[in-house]
Symmetry: C2
Subunit: 369 residues, 2 copies
């Protein structure tokens, strides 16, 4: 999408044909800096340190990481080493494993001499496929917003709540949760987004607010505590969030706090949608709440906060009482019963085993193998 | 309660007999500083700028503010001016109005010459009464914790979740939500508190963590988004929160985000209790969700964060994308249907109109006048 009028993606092949450019998301919203990845190690660090984040973008970065690795060592051992290096960078996102398996499947049968070129070609495909998938999510989600417009008086604004960043920064372009929002905005629908701050790491206040603002979409940042109150008072027409993994039963794993917003939406009759590219569905996980491992991250994400001082310096400050322990669960799982629908590139699906299986018969066959 | 072994209250009459000492809660947890209030204006500023906060402490501060005012001008006009100055300092807390009405009722019938002395005496009573009430809450809440102990294996820890600061810092001593916790800790029960960070203003991370830590109660600070996940996985035995106002129908107004935790508790069968001194019940409000006004506070509480740098400086940093609007609703209302019980100094009450009316017949008579 656009940054002050100029089109950007979150990751791209540089003009040199082999190095990879990516927006350093750790520096947003305070600085807009492009990082250059020139090795598999760079890609692994970029994922682990969250220079890039968001399930689809993690997948894209891992794919380019495999391509960069093939320039260094295209042997079977080199491929295995790259796979093993990249797979451990983040534990929750299913897209990471998906992208790496795709790359391995494409590279394993061919001659090592041809692997580097083939790896870039397959990585480019994965990237373009992500953009296409998100365009599909946008197209399938738009009618949900148009239906709200149809119920409102002419000129009234549609209010959408979102949590974390499932925006174009979390993908290659368009985003998942934001895709229908950007498309509605492009079509001239008056739309306003309540942006959950999304503690810890504040991806809402830092990233979603940044990308909506720079693209020109009206929005308001709210503390994560606020959504229930807004829904109670009719100030939210629709919630759309992203997801890091959907289980075969429709349970949705996403940034911690998503479950609380889904409860509030359910309690107030607000439709609660989850937007996702289909690789995010993990048919191997039968029960999301029981079986999806929840990443615990550094306590520093809770205790420390980085921002800009009034005179323009970047500073990191400790905000928690000294000596108090902290816990940092990165994700939670929203039970399928609280989800109105899953907006995918194949349509809006009911979050249950039967509907998901029917929509992706080829994936079921694979999972059962 | 104790600060590193020494007993403190949150507010007190100084040894000079007339000035008022109070812990400056804006400086916690980074600095422990006592402020000296020497005029009604000081008291008003202390409440408005949240040097003191928490419904009972606001009431106590307003009472001393009236006493300080009577030293300056004990005429009827002076009394009215002080009342009018103090009543507008915060819009939501019912205790503010309650304390001011108590003071006015005590002072109006007597000679202006005697008003200053009488005001200090009545303010002291209000303060001591708050401590007594909180001891009552502790005593009435303790059996709820003991019942959990009885269900557990010997030596297992009781996990309590709380939101915001309804601790001794929010009252004169003991706290409301924390009162049963401190008493259980004193009785040797193994208790651990999940402390919601409580954005914005972070009263959990700043104040609750500080007071529990300095008193020696085991606790862990968590982002506000985390409680649902913990409850889903059996890691919370009990939630206890405070409240700024309870409606006659049992609806509970408290710091924004309380409603979301109540929803999660309900969804997971975790008992959700609200601890309160009875003046917090506002029998004049029939329907909490519809009728309690929700204070909107400065956006700076959302955009800016103050903390200590690694080298010890206090800095305030902006954490939200530049140019993004923010909203800051300070409270929400939890419907009575999600509340297991109200822990008051008169016992644990069902949150419904009949039970509240039966427990406080004298208040109903007053409200009906």
């Amino acid at each position: 999408m656009k940054v002050d009028g100029k089109h950007f993606r979150s990751i791209w092949r540089e003009r040199d044909g082999w190095s990879v450019g990516a927006i350093d998301q750790r520096r947003l919203p305070h600085e807009f800096i492009v990082a250059k990845l020139t090795s598999c190690g760079d890609a692994a660090v970029a994922i682990r340190d969250m220079l890039v984040r968001g399930a689809p973008l993690i997948g894209a970065t891992a794919a380019y990481g495999m391509a960069l690795a093939m320039r260094e060592d295209a042997s079977d051992a080199g491929m295995k080493r790259a796979y093993d290096t990249l797979i451990v960078t983040r534990p929750t996102a299913i897209n990471l494993k998906w992208a790496l398996d795709e790359m391995r499947a494409a590279l394993a049968p061919i001659d090592p001499i041809e692997r580097a070129e083939a790896a870039y070609a397959r990585a480019d495909e994965i990237v373009e496929q992500d953009v296409e998938i998100n365009r599909g999510i946008a197209a399938n989600g738009l009618p949900l917003i148009e239906a709200i417009v149809a119920r409102k008086k002419p000129g009234e604004t549609v209010n959408v709540l979102t949590h974390c960043n499932a925006g174009w920064l979390a993908t290659v372009d368009w985003g998942t949760a934001t895709a229908p929002i950007y498309l509605a905005h492009e079509r001239g629908i008056k739309i306003h987004v309540w942006v959950d701050e999304t503690r810890p790491r504040n991806q809402g206040a830092s990233l979603t607010a940044w990308e909506l603002g720079h693209h020109g979409v009206p929005h308001t940042v709210i503390p994560d505590n606020t959504g229930g109150h807004l829904m109670q008072h009719g100030m939210v027409d629709l919630a759309i969030v992203g997801t890091d993994r959907v289980a075969a039963n429709g349970d949705v794993c996403n940034k911690i706090g998503t479950y609380l917003k889904a409860l509030a939406a359910h309690d107030n009759g607000v439709p609660f949608y989850v937007a996702l590219p289909s690789p995010t569905i993990d048919f191997a996980v039968n029960d999301g709440i029981r079986d999806i491992p929840i990443e615990q991250r550094s306590g520093a994400e809770v205790t420390d906060m980085t921002g800009r001082t009034a005179d323009g310096r970047l500073e990191t400050v400790r905000i928690v009482a000294e000596g108090s322990p902290v816990a940092n669960y990165a994700f939670d799982v929203t039970p399928a019963r609280l989800v109105t629908g899953l907006i995918t590139e194949r349509g809006v699906l009911k979050p249950d085993r039967t509907s998901l299986a029917a929509a992706f018969p080829e994936r079921i066959a694979t999972a059962a193998e």
